[in-house]
């Protein structure tokens, strides 16, 4: 069965530090890849997505992610985090084809200290 792994469960950074959150998936075929963010007490919002083309995608709020097909990875990065980036971050994968099933990773809680 397809799975999505986020190895960092809890990350604590100081403001202005650089961020990289790992995401690996198990499906070998065509995939659509997503990062969602959930701010405290809120619903999930899309940060960025990859469907095809340039494997380096840029999203909102200065986030970017790189799709490395050979490593089945889609890591999220931000060069300089802010206190307002404190949130839960979810990687998600959709298999290519007819299914509309989006599988989420277990999430990474990012706490940014001022």
């Amino acid at each position: 069965a397809q799975s999505v792994s986020q190895h960092n469960h809890h990350v604590i950074l100081s403001e202005a530090a650089s961020l990289e959150l790992g995401c690996n998936y198990s499906y070998g075929g065509t995939v659509n890849l997503f990062w969602y963010v959930q701010y405290p007490g809120q619903h999930l919002q899309l940060l960025l997505k990859y469907f095809s083309g340039d494997p380096l995608v840029k999203g909102i709020k200065g986030f970017e992610a790189e799709f490395i097909k050979s490593k089945f990875s889609f890591n999220l990065r931000k060069p300089s985090v802010q206190w307002s980036d404190t949130a839960e971050y979810f990687c998600a994968v959709k298999q290519g084809g007819a299914t509309n099933k989006l599988i989420f990773g277990t999430g990474t809680l990012l706490a940014v200290q001022p």
Binding site: Q38, H43, L46, A92, N100, K101, F104
Partner: protein, 111 residues
Amino acid sequence: DTAVSQTPKYLVTQMGNDKSIKCEQNLGHDTMYWYKQDSKKFLKIMFSYNNKELIINETVPNRFSPKSPDKAHLNLHINSLELGDSAVYFCASTQGNGELFFGEGSRLTVL
């Protein structure tokens, strides 16, 4: 205008009761979902409907019954509530590429 709206936002009830959560989307999407987010923030898909037809049913207990009267609405009815049903339930919709638009969630607490 809220794209995906859920009601109620909060629900507190006793074990054994029956409750419903409603969801509506005004995005014109064909596919809608229910996800359950537990206390550890893990998001698990429960159901998906495409144009009123059930297309995903992830071994959810049959106490949970989704209903889609039209493609803009997907409701969730839960019978005989148990303590373990306490969670935040998120409705979402998509036009088919996997990009989901989420509602604000309905926090269910079973006492």
